[in-house]
Amino acid sequence: MILQGKRVALPPNPVVHRRFEEHARATPDAVAVFRAGERTTYAELDARANRFARHLAARGVGRGAKVGVCLDYSADLLVAVLGTLKAGAAYVPFDPAYPPARLRLLLDQVPGLALIVASPATAGLIERAPVEVTGFEELSERLAALPATAPAIEVTGDDLCYAVFTSGSTGTPKLTAVRHEGWFNLMNWLQLEYGLHQGSHNLVVSAFGFDLSQRALMTALFCGATQYFTTSRNFDPMLAYRMLGEHPIRTVHCASSTLYLLVDWETARGGDALTRLDYVLFGGEALKAERLTDWARREGNTCTLLHQYGVAECTDVATSYDLAGYRPGGHEVAPVGRPAYNTAIHLLDEALRGVAPGEQGEICISGTGVGAGYLGAAGPENAKFTTVEADGEPLRLYRTGDRGRVNADGDLVVLGRIDAQVKVRGMRIDPADVERALARLAGVREAAVAVTRTAAGEAELSAFVVPAGADLAEDDLRARLLADLPRNMVPARFTNIPRIPLSPHGKVDRAALADAIARGL
């Protein structure tokens, strides 16, 4: 089963900063960055980035090198990012909200790290840095002496543009790199498919270290629009919402959990700043449609919600779905839609053969966005990037480890992780499937299912439900689930709990739940 995205020709040299430079020439006085009342024009940002690129080049930092950027969101951050790209190098974003020990651990994993750009506010976070740490304050005299024109450094679509850490399913951070062509293709698709333009001003609300933040940061500049920043290091619904209300911001890119918080903020206080947006592009975890339904139906809501799916290894977003077409309450989870331009989704079985239409398979991604793989120590992980034969030609694809199928409308539906599946009495089960069935039952607000062990060591399922009202009886839940699910998928035990424990990343903490059972809760 293959979903093929539209084939759209890219310019001969699809290099992201060249598109920014075109805007700097065409609209030099347009505002590129807005933060705390301070505006930086395209011409100013371009000139500063050119000088920084020349500084890097003079120090031998060019193609193949990595520049660490550990800055709070600011014009300086964009100077560091664009200057690095102009020098032909790739940047690695470091979130200044990370604890110093974590930053140090990550920095040590970057092969070819040439230097780190930090500010007085962030340099202190980097203990015993493996390479020089420098900032625009220290460099200001040296940079001012350099020409403001672009250095003549050839960069191609095949060159790396950034590398981000992804926690992966194992929890060990891995550095995954992507290429200019893939990043260019992603933003070109968003621009053309959704009609983004010079007025499509954006507010960044996600932490710099996340893969989605790279696209959130650059799409406005790719389109000639203004990039707005809040002044906070951590996501701040109060400040973010205020920015949306006070400025002509049209788009927000964020994780699903962030969107829920913004929706809750607006719902609790009765504003309309969020409903007046053109687009929220979001995803990254299973959609909780009930968190959005009432808000989405509000009168005068003109905001289009784009529910997206992708992986950092393949340049972030691979598919997109306009949620206006989704009617929650059915037995179907919200789709993630159709592939980006020049991108295909393959649903394959364990032997990497295509599954039949309507069947489940592992979601694999091919096309322009497939990245350059993991850098450094995690080499064996690169086996997830593989080559298959398609129409007699070798085709490079990435195995996501996610499980999905294509629904009757031709949209991709993500069902869970392949490796989350457990065998219960011989049947392969993903706890996420059982959670969805539980959450659909009347009287259940939320549900989580953990894999636990019987005294004899066999795997079984334990369900945790957050009741909408009074506690729910185990027999009642079991009886109602049996009407929907095969017997092996019905949990062995049910426990009412006041809320689902979340990990620090805001995901369901199944390990904590399994622990509670093991301790005899």
């Binding site: 909200a97 906070s232 290091r233 951590n234 996501f235 701040d236 619904p237 109060m238 400040l239 959990s257 829920y260 918080l261 809750d264 903020w265 609790a268 206080r269 006041p498 809320r499 424990p501 979340l502 620090p504 805001g506």
Partner: protein, 72 residues
Amino acid sequence: MIADGVRAIWCREFERDDIGPDDDFFALGGQSLIMTKIQGAYIEELGAEVPMDQMFLNPTIASISAYIESSR
């Protein structure tokens, strides 16, 4: 007392009544959803606009109350 108001909000959102002035927000299991609710409650109940960065820097009832006090 600001600290009494802060404590009442924390106890409600964490659904427990044994939170001391120096207990750490994150050690109590606090995460972004609870933080957002508490941030909203500070505005509505205490008339205080507390940026999220300050909530990270001052993760106890005692320290955030001192911040709110000083920002008035």
